[in-house]
Symmetry: C2
């Protein structure tokens, strides 16, 4: 087992950045494992996946002593341990709120299933949708049944994919159901208590970094 | 017009972070403008939207002299100028490749339209889908017609939402069509030439930062 680090004072932002990098390492190790690679050095890992070798060593050292001098990392073992650190050593149960296009896409998103996230239910206000399923088979339930279902199904994470004006009431509802982690796709950022972790995914920001790049590129041709 | 900065050596990562912050400022100013606010100081902007006042001043100063001493920023004017910097002062034309659940959701994503991104077409390999439209009315065309359509329609950005194994051939195709900015939702990261800007959106990474948080939270209860 990795040595647990006792520094609890790490800022939320650092945690987020670290978790993001650990996810990328895990994805890289998955590729190596699928190719039958047994061991890898931080240098080789960095070169193959365009990462930073010193950062890899620093990130992993923070959680324990994983590397073997002269060998590097055992791929299977490091994968297993990264999954433990990322909380993926047991299935993580997810509910998607909003059964529109985006909610349906998220309920069936293949990357979630691959890493151990199980979308167990979708919820919507539209009674016409209740009882139907996503293409992948996730059942749609009425939002009024959310609190009861969250407790019965042991939901860990709520994914919010509802219109902007519904985001805050839905966030309040999932918090009242005892959910402590929320991934929000709706415009704006709903408020949640400090004990709840909220992550906003704003697809417009990614698009704007591309239009920014194109606009800067155009500068040179003016 | 903002003073154009001549420093072209800024790293890609810094540009991305800057563009991301400018997007957030623009979104905040949209809220203020809708509320009828005429002027705002960097301090008030920071407090209201949980931003960093010094960072706001630094980011905006990089692009020109927008603030007025003793007044702050004129909301309407700063919005207009941020839209110019982000390349949003003209419609940005987008094609979505892959007309599955996710492609359909992205084609109709309301946030894109609000900021001036126009999804003009979807493309798919499935001839049964060709000729249909998204709920929002975006027509689906065959992938074989992509190169011709990109040129005719003046597509600026390609959004890739196809299965993992199709991501690289699709990326090669959009690059060959002359597209210089790609937003990729497929697992993995397709390779593109250095002159093309690729941004990967991996929804699993966001989910894993939440499971990481939950796993760390659980530590305290062991």
């Amino acid at each position: 087992m990795p040595r647990k680090n006792n520094q609890r004072g790490t800022s939320e932002q650092v945690s987020d950045l670290t978790a993001g990098r650990l996810s990328v390492y895990l994805r890289s190790l998955n590729v190596l494992a699928a190719a039958g690679v047994k061991t890898v050095s931080s240098k080789a890992l960095a070169e193959q996946f365009h990462l930073n070798a010193a950062q890899i060593r620093k990130d992993l050292a923070y959680f324990g002593e994983f590397g073997i001098r002269g060998v590097g990392y055992y791929v299977t073992e490091l994968r297993r341990q990264l999954r433990v650190i990322l909380g993926l050593d047991r299935p993580v149960r997810v509910a998607v709120i909003g059964a529109g296009n985006l909610g349906m896409a998220l309920a069936d998103y293949p990357g979630f299933r691959q890493e151990g996230f199980v979308v167990v239910a979708m919820f919507d206000v539209d009674r016409a949708k209740v009882g139907r399923r996503s293409k992948g088979g996730v059942p749609i339930q009425h939002i009024d049944d959310l609190v009861e279902n969250v407790k019965r199904e042991g939901i860990d994470i709520a994914v919010i994919a509802v219109p902007a004006e519904a985001a805050q009431p839905v966030a309040d509802l999932v918090v009242s159901a005892g959910i402590r982690a929320v991934l929000n796709f709706s415009p704006g950022s709903p408020r949640v208590p400090p004990s709840v972790k909220l992550k906003n995914v704003d697809l417009t920001v990614s698009m704007e970094s591309l239009s920014f790049f194109l606009a800067r590129g155009d500068d040179g041709q003016e």
